[in-house]
């Protein structure tokens, strides 16, 4: 049983259903990749786990989010606060908005530890410097006193990670933590997050639209498409034998070394928006394997050896290269 279990989670705003029956789990020492293209529902899933849906006027309409056996969807705001920031840390898609431009960055990290762990100012300060040092920020004691605008993007992102770590969480939900960064800096940050998970036994939900990032560091992967779970598998199986036609097509969209020119074609059409979700399988207008049943019937979840797929005609290993 995982530390975090997202169980057939649905999320809505007004009468719109934005997420439908999302399910995955992640355990300590494990990285779950949550992937999908823009608008697939990754950030909404993250907000739901962090209990922040009310911020955008959305709510959980069905399902459960069990964290260490407590269903977070049933907690009121005051009980939820004991989890958020303390045991569950959230790194938002835009780290630059997570930092107060007018406060030295060190103090911003202190606040988390003082609030959640009840540390005194002095203790919090030395702990902050320790965390910054562990995150390989050079001259942490000097950086401690600097303001966000004095730091590079990669540095700021490390400060945001430091804030997440300051409450000593068991779970980190990181929403595209490296999307705005240069690739060499992205590599550093991903490496850092990966070693935190392995060394401290944290659980990490890593949200990204980059299948390369997923392949390089995740243990398990949940692929979202248009607000639904397309597929969930272990990382090796997912890349070797993707079961959902969407996953297959998505992997084929990435340029790989030695690939012949003209072999990238993309996926025809585009991701539908909430107002234009097609009936049946939401991927059917773009799917090369669709049959008439796909246009009318929503595919149920089919178990795979180490995961689950939602497709009327899942691929097996042979078709993958056919």
């Amino acid at each position: 049983m995982g530390l975090l279990e997202v169980d057939r989670l649905s999320v809505g705003i007004g009468r719109l259903t934005l997420l439908e029956e999302i399910a995955f789990e992640v355990d300590r020492g494990e990285i779950l990749g949550l992937v999908g293209e823009s608008g697939s529902g990754k950030s909404l899933t993250a907000l739901a786990i962090a209990g922040l849906l009310p911020l955008i006027g959305a709510r959980v309409t069905a399902g459960a989010i069990r964290f260490d056996n407590t269903d977070l969807t049933r907690l009121d705001e005051s009980r939820l606060r004991k989890f958020r920031g303390r045991r569950i840390a959230f790194i938002t898609q835009n780290p630059m908005t997570a930092l107060d431009p007018l406060q030295p960055i060190g103090e911003q990290v202190d606040v988390v530890a003082r609030l959640h762990l009840g540390l005194t100012a002095d203790v919090a300060r030395s702990r902050t410097i320790e965390i910054l040092t562990q995150l390989r920020i050079p001259e942490a004691a000097t950086i401690y006193r600097q303001y966000p605008h004095q730091l590079s993007g990669g540095m700021k992102q490390r400060v945001v990670i430091a804030m997440a770590l300051a409450g000593e969480p068991d779970l980190i939900v990181a929403d595209e933590p490296t999307t705005a960064l240069d690739v060499t800096v992205q590599a550093q940050i991903i490496h850092l997050l990966t070693s935190l998970v392995r060394e401290r036994g944290l659980a990490l939900v890593l949200i990204t639209h980059d299948m390369g990032v997923v392949a390089q560091c995740c243990d398990r992967v949940a692929v979202l498409y248009a607000g639904r779970l397309a597929e969930q598998q272990g990382v090796n199986a997912l890349f070797a034998t993707p079961a959902h036609p969407y996953t297959h097509a998505l992997i084929d969209c990435i340029p790989k070394d030695g690939m012949a020119r003209d072999s990238l074609t993309g996926i025809a059409g585009s991701v539908p928006s909430v107002a234009h979700f097609p009936p049946g399988c939401r991927f059917h207008p773009r799917c090369i394997g669709r049959q008439s049943v796909c246009e009318t019937n929503v595919p149920g979840a089919t178990a795979l050896p180490g995961g689950v797929v939602s497709c009327h005609f899942p691929l097996n290993g042979d078709q993958r290269h056919g």
Partner: protein
Amino acid sequence: MADATNLLVIDRLTKRFDSGAGLFAPRRSMTAVRDVSLAVSRGSVVGVVGESGCGKSTLARLVLRLLEPTQGTVHFDGIDLGKLAPRDLRKARRRMQMVFQDPYSSLDPRFTIEQVVGEPFTVQGEVLAPGRIAELLDQVGLAGEIARSYPHQLSGGQRQRVGVARALALRPDLLVLDEPTASLDVSIQAQIIKLLQDLKRDLGLTYLFISHDLGLVRYFCDRIIVMYLGAVVEELPSPSTEPRHPYTRALLDSTFSPDPGKRRHLASLTGEIPSAFNLPKGCAFAARCSRASSRCLSERPSLTMHASGHRAACFHPIADDEKEPS
């Protein structure tokens, strides 16, 4: 004199920006593009790759003469663009067009797609042949009905196709593509790249393709120029050429392979990118480079030909027999 092989020749191009001295701020100057030379042969795709702020967009704007260089020349089809009178420059420009990164902000929201695509004709004071808009839209894979829509009614991929259609309107020879897929999902990026490949083949176009994505550039381009802080650090004569410059190597190592069977140790680079206003005396990459010697800190390496037959600006280039770090 027209050059039979090269459509575009850039010679020692430099662009310096001076920030005006304010009440409290001293006057500062930074070199966004430093001494860049490159040639683009007819019908080829040359890639320019590098991280944020390395001068890629500035280079693109210099090529199209949307910016005046501080030094250096741009020859297009044998013509020195710097010597042209405004009228002749406008005529030359119709043969070279730009596609911008952001399909959201590069299309005027008040105009219909028909007006957007027809705009280059208006600018050139030309009559639009009947059916030309439909033909252009068709060329980029858009249905004719789209002509009467507004940009906000289109998806990101459709908008970028509109950007390409507009660039093609005056039948140019050269397209300068500044990160044309950077804001798109991979499924749409792959569609656009495919479209660009087809157009190049059908229309005999030449591309200068700018990107921060080395994986994409290696897939799409014939030759690759790698930039770091305004300067060219390496030229790869083919997409499969092994890099000699440690920065190119680091870029390659930071490109995540979508294959979990090929995981490697990430994060070879430490250190910070120096400020462009305050470049170190020696090699701009020295502070982050594992091979840096004292010479690298005091002397700036120039682009020199290496045994492998390509140019790199490094005192200690990676040798043939060195295994890539695993």
